[in-house]
């Protein structure tokens, strides 16, 4: 498994949940430390599931102990962000937190569907259907 690549993805997930760079880094590193310390052999999918499960729990713990605050880090817009991309971001804001998280994990982090299904405790079919529904909503929102 490419640890660097997964570090960046877990960090993205943690930042998505915590909206604070420093906390997101701490949780990311704690997640990896636990993985490195755990002795069990896992294949790639099992490893991803382990990492996201631990990260999710640690993020929930952080969120529970700290009063939620508005976005504390400014993430600068990238050069070349088109009007369409901005529109997509607006549509994403219109999704529920859970749906937005699902989209981020599937399309930004490339988490395989079977791993996501395990994380959310649903069947692959249910997950596919949900993702299709979200994409359809986003497309309609952009075309409308």
């Amino acid at each position: 498994m490419d640890i660097e690549e997964q570090y960046d993805k877990i960090y993205r997930y943690c930042f998505f949940r915590l909206r604070d760079r420093s906390m997101a880094e701490d949780v990311t590193q704690e997640t990896f430390l636990r993985w490195l310390a755990s002795d069990t052999y896992r294949d790639r999918d099992q490893t991803l599931r382990y990492l996201y499960t631990v990260a999710r729990h640690l993020c929930s713990d952080e969120n529970a102990s700290v009063k939620p605050e508005p976005l504390s880090e400014n993430v600068p817009a990238r050069d070349g962000d088109t009007v369409l991309c901005m529109a997509l971001k607006t549509e994403l804001e219109g999704l529920s937190d859970e749906d937005r998280e699902l989209v981020m994990l599937r399309f930004a982090n490339g988490v395989p569907v079977n791993v996501l299904a395990g994380l959310y405790g649903v069947s692959r079919f249910t997950l596919y259907r949900r993702l299709r529904g979200i994409l359809k909503r986003l497309r309609n929102g952009l075309e409308g």
């Binding site: 498994m1 490419d2 640890i3 660097e4 690549e5």
Partner: protein, 233 residues
């Protein structure tokens, strides 16, 4: 980070190629000067785990040179760079990355970055047998960096390069010295004079000079000649 070398020796049928060498290195570029036959290459090989010492120890932050963990953070560019002529530069980097334990995707990312960083560019997709000496040297430094080493050992990296390429190497090594221990062995004074923070000199298998070096000094050649007189630099 600290590289500790204690009482390092290498004897070949009665001849002392490296004789009781002891020193300590920390982050930054460290120069190792000496004439041909002074024992530099033998020393570099022992520091890279390529040659077993007759006596003495080498450790990086407490990790012995014989351990896999030492080699995990090591980058080595030998004086004579072997290569598979039918491989492309990219293939060669991928191959060595796999021996360094990198996953395929990690290796691909690093190989692509380093081909750009070392200025190989499009040549990365061409067979190594078509490369010039300078391009092979650049490929050599790329493979030494592929695992983002904490300890970089470079043996005569600029031999056969033109002044422009040598200057580029100096800049690259200088940059690497900010995060890693770089030990650069050379007989070309200008390679190290401006970038090394510590200077070592070897003669007849022994380290005869080991001091912090002010990069502003320009009297390295004079100092060397004064100490070692007739030996060719």
């Amino acid at each position: 980070m600290e590289l500790i070398v204690r009482g390092l020796c290498k004897y070949y049928s009665g001849k002392k190629a490296v004789d009781d060498v002891t020193f300590r290195l920390t982050e930054g570029v460290n120069g190792l000067l000496g004439a041909n036959g002074a024992g530099k290459t033998t020393l570099m090989r022992m520091l890279s785990g390529v040659l077993r010492p007759t006596a003495g120890t080498v450790s990086l932050d407490g990790v012995d040179v014989s351990s896999e963990d030492y080699r995990a953070v090591l980058g080595y560019l030998p004086q004579e760079l072997g290569y598979y002529p039918d491989f492309t530069g990219f293939d060669f980097l991928m191959y060595l990355a796999s021996l360094k334990g990198l996953s395929r995707s990690h290796a691909k990312r690093r190989a692509t970055e380093l081909i750009e960083l070392t200025g190989l560019g499009e040549a990365g997709r061409k067979r190594i047998r078509t490369y010039s000496g300078g391009m092979r040297r650049r490929l050599g430094i790329a493979q030494a960096l592929i695992n983002d080493p904490d300890l970089l050992i470079v043996d005569e990296p600029t031999a056969g390069l033109d002044p422009g390429e040598r200057a580029r190497f100096r800049d690259l090594l200088s940059e690497l010295g900010r995060h890693s221990i770089v030990l650069l062995s050379t007989h070309i004074v200008s390679d190290v004079e401006q970038i090394a923070g510590r200077m070592l000199m070897m003669s007849s298998g022994r380290v005869v000079f080991d001091e912090l070096w002010d990069k502003g000094r320009t009297d390295l050649e004079e100092l060397y000649l004064k100490r070692f007189g007739g030996e060719n630099v």
